[in-house]
């Protein structure tokens, strides 16, 4: 597994937590306030002086500061938040949101990719199939699940379990969090591209509701490979992109260190994607990002899933698949063109209706 060993120092999330207590570089003032508060708490415990009023004042200050920072995150800062080592991962969602989770292993062909976890469980009162990408928390876990970079068997496992769910009418929820599909020799030998392509080809046909949520990194084809469904939602500070900002910078700027500029240009934040009509919903994160409050984040995601599933289950299956297909076909179509097609479709309906009338009339002369 030489491939896996060398990847460790390559991945951005190789530290368990940032050196300065989990603060990102643009959170300097927040970190200052934190250390001030810690100092006051230490003093009060040593000297027995009550600093609680002062601490409360600092806390209020910190809240204002966090609000200020997180309402104006740049694209590159968003990418850093999405990759934050303390950000909730698939395992947190499974622990906090899914009841009675039963993992289903293996693609029945080559192996069991730990970068994509599949299994049955309940969210709210709904039974669902969870398909999620896991990055792992400890170094050991990270290596086991290849830092969230799936191999072809992961995509094939996902499809196999999704077909199983389809057979028994179990809705599918996919949680996307990957830097990208793994670029390795073995992955190419086993057909990474073909595995993803088949998923893109099969997921539109699955006769169960599918909800896809980007919870962290939505890395290109690796994310899309489990990201085709009736709804695509994204967490507020997650990102979804056709290429990593570093990769884009290396190609178009010929300099990987221009990643912040590339991130800006790629329009990969939830806000931009929503504006462009490329995601259906943005799920809000707690103050200061998901990594500051796991429970609230998971709760928001759960709420979204429960509500959306209820909506989707009300739709007749044929209509559901029809809408899914139409939605896919409209990706990238400008709003004006969308409107034109809608009216065109309306006209076609009228035309069809008109055509239906003469056939009835034809029967009339037959009587005469």
């Amino acid at each position: 597994m030489a491939e896996r060993d060398t990847i460790i120092d390559k991945m951005p999330n190789n530290k368990n937590s940032l050196s300065n207590g989990g603060h990102l570089e643009f959170e300097g003032k927040v970190a200052d306030l934190d250390s001030q508060m810690n100092e006051l708490r230490r003093l009060s415990s040593i000297k027995g002086i009550d600093y609680s009023a002062e601490i409360r004042r600092l806390q209020r200050q910190q809240v204002t500061e966090l609000k200020r920072i997180y309402s104006n995150l740049t694209a590159w800062q968003t990418v850093q938040v999405a990759r934050h080592p303390n950000r909730p991962l698939l395992s947190d969602y499974l622990d906090l949101m899914v009841k009675d989770f039963r993992e289903l292993h293996g693609d029945r062909c080559f192996g069991d990719d730990r970068a994509i976890i599949t299994g049955l469980g309940h969210i709210g009162r709904e039974r669902v199939l969870i398909v999620g990408q896991d990055k792992g928390k400890s170094t050991k876990q990270k290596i086991a699940c290849n830092f969230g970079c799936p191999n072809p068997e992961g995509y094939r496992k996902a499809l196999a379990k999704m077909k199983f769910a389809e057979k028994f009418g179990i809705p599918i929820v996919t949680l996307i969090d990957t830097p990208g599909a793994y670029p390795g020799i073995g992955a190419e030998e086993r057909g990474q591209a073909q595995a993803i392509a088949v998923n893109l080809n099969q997921m539109p046909r699955l006769r169960v509701p599918i909800i896809c949520i980007v919870i962290g990194e939505g890395g290109s084809g690796g994310a899309l490979g489990i990201g085709v469904g009736d709804r695509l939602a994204i967490l507020e500070f997650a990102y979804y992109s056709v290429i990593s900002p570093e990769g884009c910078a290396a190609i178009l700027w010929r300099d990987g260190s221009q990643a912040p500029k590339a991130a800006e240009a790629l329009k990969l934040t939830s806000k931009d994607l929503y504006k462009l009509g490329l995601v259906d919903a943005v799920i809000s994160e707690p103050l200061g990002g998901a990594h500051r409050n796991l429970h609230d984040t998971v709760y928001n995601v759960e709420k979204y899933i429960v509500k959306t599933l209820r909506d989707l289950k009300r739709t007749k299956l044929d209509n559901l698949l029809d809408n899914r297909y139409k939605k896919l076909r409209l990706i990238g179509v400008s709003p004006a063109e969308k409107l034109r097609r809608k009216t065109l479709a309306g006209k076609e309906r009228v035309k069809e209706a008109l055509e239906a009338i003469p056939t009835k009339r034809k029967r009339v002369p037959a009587k005469v």
């Binding site: 190419e188 893109l200 990238g332």
Partner: protein, 299 residues
Amino acid sequence: MPTTAKQPPAQVRGLNNNMGKEVKSKWNGFSLKPRKEMPEGLWVRCPGCEHMLYKSAVEKNLNVCPECNHHFRIEAATRIKYLADEDSFQEILGDLTTDDPLGFKFRDTTYKQRIKDDVKKSGVKEAMLIGKAFIKGRGIILAVMEPNFLMGSMGFVVGEKLCAAIDMAMAEKLPLVAVCCSGGARMHEGVVSLGQMAKTSAALAKFDEAGGLYICVLTDPTTGGVTASFATLGDCLIAEPGALIGFAGPRTIAETIKIELPEGFQTSEFMLEHGFLDMIVNRRDLRSEIARLIDYCQK
């Protein structure tokens, strides 16, 4: 540009004196840049065998090296000329252009400017041409990618055109032939291009359900989002010899795993060996092979 017309180099075909020496490896590294383009002038150096060849002789040979069977990259128009019956190709949606959904700017230039430049350079308006054509008298819908237009990358227009081609093939009950040649999804259009992978694959699912025949021809290079969507979803997958076919670019893989890639990695032959292709067909046989396949699949 290794040579000019004035100085025919010593290593001309037939004149070369390195017959006894070890011939240089056909594997020319992992550059994602187009392998040496055809230089101007009368002579051209074959990237496969390093021989100097008469350009006209190569062109007469369908842009294939007569010495080592290296298949040169060819532009869409030439591809159509080689593949379709004479003057049978009728282009559809030739004027479709992108409206730059992201307003993409990079370095000191913009995506729109890049498009303008490449329109001038390649003479086509986008990286894919679609239309109706005949192959040995058999009607088909043909989609051909243009490698000289932003590396044949797939953005909105390519996705839209391919979907239109699929719709047309479905409506007219004709086989669909796609000649793929692409660097992948077009990053200048961000998630819009990524979405085209899902869009084309979904449209192909409909085509499949309708019982249509879809033949993919993979040529050098077919990588990234195109390989991971419509290029590998054909009922039949044909590749030209020696083409680079894969998901991640060889450079990306080499950088990630930090070991040298095996010789012949991600070539057509490699893909065939690993079970992802139906056949490898020489350029001169493509027409007859496709025609035969269409005949076999007649219902």
